[in-house]
Amino acid sequence: MRPRTLKALAIAAAWLVAWEGVVRLGLINQIILAAPSDVIRAAATDGGLFLDAFATTALEIGAAIVIAWALGIGTGVIVGGSYRLSAAVAPILSSLFAIPLIILYPLLMAWLGIGSMSKVVFGVLSGFFPIALNTIDGVRAIDRRYLVFARSIGATRLQTYARIVFPLALPSIVSGLRVGTGLVVIGVVVTEMLASLGGIGFLISYHRTLFNTGHVYFGIVLALVMAVTVNIGLTWVERRIGLWRTLEQANG
């Protein structure tokens, strides 16, 4: 192992020991701060339950991300491609984006129940607006001379969108994805905490009411793992697209 990695591990170990010590010595109430050993004990006793919950939440988040991306980018490209549509629709989307969507959740619950469906739908709603709005902006901002060029070489509408408009709008679309995807994760976990029968959010919320702080912390760690995984995926996507984004900047 490289010395830098060793150093980082040593610091992390020192923190954990200090953390454990602070709780064991009674300096901080165990209900507020669970010791690392409590978290490990929670994992040992209820690991299976948490694993199921993790799978549920991961599935909800995965489905919501796919749908939010598809709907957001699709809507954005269609609306952004038409001057009239974007003049009519973009202001509505922006004002909807400004509403705290969580106030709609009781309605979703009434319509869809407290199962996974309402979580996915809420996740999609959370992510949809920034993705759609950024896509609209990206498509609208395209240099119109590219559209003239496309017509001059006889490109079909589909070819113009797929081969010219979409790639030119990508940098803006990707920044929408970054914001939107983060909101999907938050949306799913938060609604699980509000009312549900499964998922990491549900377990966190449930154990909080029982003052099982070790379990709560374990749930938080799992939620973090999920958020970090999503973030790594996004960074990967960004890097693949980033290759020509830097080309573009050098060009401009």
Binding site: D143, R145, Y146, V148, F149, R151, S152, I153, G154, A155, T156, Q159, R163, I164, P167, L243, W244, L247, E248, A250, N251
Partner: protein, 256 residues
């Protein structure tokens, strides 16, 4: 005599701008014969680009008609007309070669044919060794050369060029003009070129069309009988100077 490549007859174009109508083109007529290099010169905002857009089928006239090889134009004809714009509009994520291939790619031309033809075109514009470079790695002049090669990709009979060298510095611009003549002589395409530079127009063309300020109308059609192949030195000659003065007076007096 064969049909002219371009026949523009009694073209008018009026834009409605709020309450007032703006007349961009007034009764424009001319013809361009096969293999000619014809340049339209006129002050900025005189409707030159509007005329080119109509000739390319990108927009319609208010009245009148444009025929390309006898066929009235109503929509772009990519297999007959290649275009080069002031901005090269290259795709930043594609190499020079892929940019030249792009129009053929969209038409479904197979990779090997595409590659062969477009490599030859890059060679023609002097960029063979830059085939794998991305647009941001090329100078402004080189990018415009790629755009010219791209305009030739579908092997059109006619090339329309809308101030293609306007954004380049003086030296690059002169050089590009010289090389464009070379390309023109090798390919025997018909070229219709737009510029506001009188020297560029005279240096390049067989015929210069002089356009007035808005509403754009053709003031005169001036044959340029300077010998070919032309070298850059010709710009300093007496005959060249006389032509330039004549066009200059024509434009300024029409404005007054």
């Amino acid at each position: 005599m064969s049909t002219p490549v371009i026949e523009v007859s009694k073209l008018n174009k009026t834009f409605s701008a709020g309450r007032a109508d703006v007349q961009a083109l007034a009764d424009v007529s001319f013809t361009v014969e096969q293999g000619q290099f014809v340049t339209l010169v006129g002050p900025s905002g005189c409707g030159k680009s509007t005329l080119l857009q109509i000739m390319a089928g990108l927009t319609g006239p208010t009245s009148g008609e444009v025929r390309i090889e006898g066929e009235p134009i109503r929509a772009p004809m990519p297999e007959k007309i290649g275009m080069v714009f002031q901005d090269p509009t290259l795709l930043p994520w594609s190499t020079a070669l892929a940019n030249v291939e792009f129009p053929l790619d969209l038409r479904g031309v197979d990779r090997a044919t595409r590659r062969g033809r477009c490599t030859a075109l890059l060679e023609l514009v002097g960029l063979r060794e830059f085939a794998d470079h991305y647009p941001h790695e090329l100078s402004g002049g080189m990018r415009q050369r790629v755009a010219i090669a791209r305009g030739l990709a579908q092997d059109p009979r006619l090339i329309l060029m809308d101030e293609p060298f306007a954004a380049l510095d003086e030296q690059t611009r002169t050089r590009m003009g010289h090389d464009l003549l070379d390309i023109w002589e090798k390919t025997r395409k018909t070229v219709f070129f737009i510029t506001h530079s009188l020297a560029e127009a005279i240096y390049l063309s067989d015929v210069v069309l002089v356009m007035s300020t808005r509403p754009g109308r053709i003031l005169d059609t001036i044959p340029i009988n300077l010998p070919r192949p032309r070298e850059i030195d010709i710009i300093g000659s007496e005959a060249f100077g006389r032509l330039r003065n004549r066009i200059w007076h024509m434009i300024t007096e029409a404005r007054a």
